[in-house]
Amino acid sequence: MPAINEGLGMLSEQFMLMAGLAYAVAFCAYAWDLVTYSKAAKAGLAAAESGAGMEENKHQLVAAGSAGLGASNAELGLGAGPQDRAVRPSSKTHTSDDGITAGDSMRYGTEKRVVARVAVALTIVAACVHAMAVVFRGMAAGRVPWGNMYEFCTTGGLAVALVFLLVLTRRDLRFLGTFVIGLVLVMLTAASVAFWTPVGHLVPALQSYWLVIHVSIAVLSSALFTLTFAMSVLQLVQARREASIASGKKDKALVMRLVPNALSLENMSYRINGIAFVGWTLTLMFGAIWAEKAWGRFWGWDTKEVWTFVIWVVFASYLHARATRGWTGTRAAWLSIVGYLCVVFNFTIVNVYFSGLHSYAGVGGS
């Protein structure tokens, strides 16, 4: 067992602090992006209503510039939004802009969102510093950096940020920025305030290569669940907004124009949840194999096992809901949210307050 390198441990904590500050700035940038966007959207609407500069607006703000549903639909020669049966979202005539949401493509549009770009750049910087902090922590301890609550939180936060950045390369999910980076900030704060632990060796119960496999997959799946949680919350908000606009009310949450329509949020989170569910199934299975190695039984309804099972069943229900009449849409989103709340509960309350074999304190007793 290599000796603990205290110096490197200190360095790791300094980097963690810097990463936290960088995330905080990135968080502000995402928030600012939303605010400026919402202002611009308002201005765009006003201009469109007065009948002037509509063309210009359209180019400035592809997603929000046109004068609402009527104009864009007339132009496209289509029915209403993609929720209409007659519209084929995949057909070539379909564009992603329906005037009240960012449509369904989640692809990067042509408009430049400078502030959002700055925010993403900051996130990248923060994630790099964060990654170094995590790597230093691992090197300081001479093992994988996920052996106690502090490390689960810091490494988990990094996983969330990296998964977010990774998805950003394929889809424009910058509207999730405040949400996701906000959660990372919460995790880092919780780690350093509530769970802080100096670098140390693993207790014997955790010294196993299954720690590497089981926990890393659990952390990755949780990071994916974090994204879908954010998307499901937005889906609920967007669905209400769509319904209220459809019933002729005024659009109150202009920021939500930046966000895709509820249906595509649902579809995207379904896809991510599918991957995360496979990950969670693996977490469960590897956990059982490890439990067999460590305690001689693969399943014993230990509190941690119970909650891992509960989460698995909730997300299985979510997948079922998506195939059940009357349960898609809002109800499925709620299930996804409940599932994520269980993940958080399992990670915080269960780890800290429930006793069981998985207690991450010392394991002296017989």
């Binding site: 299975m285 039984r297 509960v310």
Partner: protein, 575 residues
């Protein structure tokens, strides 16, 4: 596949709509049928799953007998009114309770009722030709055309065969039809494994349940505490506690033996933040496969069991066993040997009980604790400060009287009922408590003899398990995982291609794609098919021709739209 499930659930021949409407006149069989259909409905499966999740929670809120029997006893003692009520509701045995079983049995019944008809339908679908070609392909989710110029000389019939070949090479099952008409077409289908995956997944979940049940019946397990130097022989008497499964018989115990030579424990002495935290437990064993077998030296660690004679031996706990000698009032050795203690904290403050029924004239009992590193606080009370034996100390109270061991009632060796005994030593008594360092001895008051603390050994708590069922659990779990991935990540889709001859000699080809269920890659497949067909007939892709004014942006827009969220297609919307 979903609509099949919803609409053609078992008994669907009976016109589901009217059956629901005339519920009162259904009769008994009708009622059963109705109940069965309710049970196997997707909505019900969903509700049962949610119920299962909710039902599992109390098991984490209340201590469970299966894993922490002593905590349950404690809980019952602390909550004399609510405890028995909770107990009546089986909240201390959630996972073996009738109501928990009811939920999962209903769920699995529903699963069978779901899976079997689906398997049948799917089996038929796999063997039947793709459905007939729709009249207007342009109404499908994805649609495209190819124009084969007249000079290429490809007839409509050749073209449809070519198209079939292209589809086949892409893995589709194809069926060429309408060859006798002037609009021949080919229907094709792919992705049957998606549904197979779904079925495999659900059946494997059943398999996991069955294997878990089997593993509970077939295996056996036991515990044994071994002090350094002691030997365990794998026979029923060798165990401290033994839990056989229903199929157990004694011949299954292979008569191996293992001796604990040494238990080495290492604590963190480097990092100030984790000083004294254990970092390694290593037991050295001498094992013999049978009575006459050659001895072998083996290492047993946490997370690293030793396999012997069909069992696995796990190191699940450890602690100190101080060696004591008790001489009775007559000067005879009434007890000698290590005493297994119960560690209670990270500093190994260890509780111990010594029962000396052979002491004469009075039986003797001792209750107290062992401290590996004793310090004394300002009130004069000793406490443990480190798990390593830097300053070991035994603190004991002594009792005399009838220990109650002679009447044959089994007694817990770790507790002593002092109610009927007479205390002769204690901190608050005139005689004081017994405090011993290794090598010291103490003379009991009233001529009751002596007790000496001779040395310290460690003990290992071993779990010994035989579980022939768990390999099946693993097999079914892996099958379930594979099925799940197939079900989630494969796509089932249909393609139709129709050809026809234009009066001017060109051969017109149109194709349409339809997804069944979620399929965000349908547009991509359509593009790939478009390309493959154009290549087949050496027709240049019509970027400049069809899209006219858009040609510059053609590539870009196509790319933009290609991967749009096409998840909801006609197939899935139609439900």
């Amino acid at each position: 596949m979903k609509e099949k499930l919803v609409k053609k659930s078992p008994g669907a021949k009976q016109e589901p709509a009217s059956a629901d409407a005339v519920l009162p006149r259904l009769g008994f069989v009708g009622m059963l049928r109705w109940a069965w259909r309710q049970l196997t409905s997707m909505r019900n499966a969903l509700l049962l799953l949610l119920l299962l999740a909710v039902a599992a929670v109390p098991g984490s809120l209340f201590p469970q007998r299966s894993s922490a029997a002593s905590s349950v006893t404690q809980y019952l003692a602390n909550h004399p009114t609510s405890g028995p009520i909770l107990d009546w509701f089986k909240l201390f045995d959630v996972y073996s309770s009738p109501w928990f079983a009811a939920i999962y049995l209903l769920l699995f019944t529903s699963l069978v009722g779901c899976v079997l008809p689906r398997a049948k339908i799917h089996f038929k679908a796999m063997r039947s030709a793709p459905p007939r070609t729709p009249k207007r392909l342009s109404r499908l989710a994805e649609y495209g055309t190819v124009e084969i110029p007249a000079e290429s000389g490809i007839s409509a019939e050749t073209a449809v065969h070519d198209a079939a070949a292209v589809l086949k090479s892409r893995g589709y099952r194809v069926d060429v039809r309408d060859l006798d008409t002037d609009r021949p077409s080919v229907g094709a289908e792919i992705g049957f494994l998606k549904e197979v995956g779904n079925l495999v997944f659900h059946i494997s979940i059943l398999g996991v349940l069955a294997a878990v049940a089997y593993s509970g019946l077939a295996g056996y397990s036991g515990q044994r505490v071994l002090v350094e130097g002691e030997t365990f022989v794998n026979s029923i008497v060798g165990y401290d506690t033994f839990t056989p499964g229903a199929y157990f018989n004694e011949n299954r115990l292979s008569p191996y033996s293992l001796q604990l030579d040494k238990l080495a424990v290492k604590y963190d002495r480097e990092s100030p933040g984790h000083y004294g935290q254990p970092i390694d437990f290593t037991a050295t064993l001498t094992t013999k496969d049978g009575a006459g077998a050659a001895p072998k030296s083996q290492i047993l660690k946490v997370n690293d069991p030793v396999s012997m004679g069909g069992t696995n031996v796990y190191l699940v706990g450890n602690g100190y066993a101080p060696v004591v000698t008790v001489k009775d009032g007559k000067g005879n050795v009434a007890y000698q040997g290590p005493v297994v203690t119960i560690p209670t904290d990270g500093a190994y403050t260890s509780l111990l009980v010594i029962k000396v029924p052979d002491a004469k004239p009075n039986q003797l009992g001792f209750v107290g604790f062992f401290l590996p590193t004793a310090l004394v606080d300002d009130k004069g009370v000793a406490y443990g400060s480190d798990p390593d034996p830097f300053n070991p100390q035994l603190n004991l109270n002594a009792y005399t009287g009838d220990l109650g061991l002679d009447n044959g009632v089994p007694r817990n060796v770790y507790t002593l009922d002092t109610a009927k005994l007479k205390q002769i030593n204690g901190r608050d008594m005139a005689a004081g408590g017994i405090v011993l360092a290794p090598g010291q001895s103490y003379t009991l008051p009233e001529g009751n003899g002596t007790i000496s603390f001779d040395g310290i050994k460690r003990f290992a708590a071993l779990d010994i398990r035989n579980d022939p069922g768990q390999i099946y659990v693993l097999v079914f779990a892996v099958l379930a995982l594979g099925g799940l991935m197939g079900s989630l990540f494969l796509n089932r889709r249909r393609v139709w291609i129709r050809t026809g001859s234009h009066p001017d000699g060109r051969t017109m080809v149109e194709f349409g794609l339809l997804a069944r269920g979620e399929d965000h890659r349908l547009a991509g497949e359509s593009r790939a098919l478009d390309k493959a067909l154009h290549t087949k007939w050496l027709v240049p892709l019509p970027s400049a021709v069809e899209d006219g004014t858009q040609d510059k942006s053609y590539k870009k827009t196509r790319k933009d739209q290609s991967d749009t969220e096409t998840g909801i297609t006609m197939a899935s919307k139609d439900q």
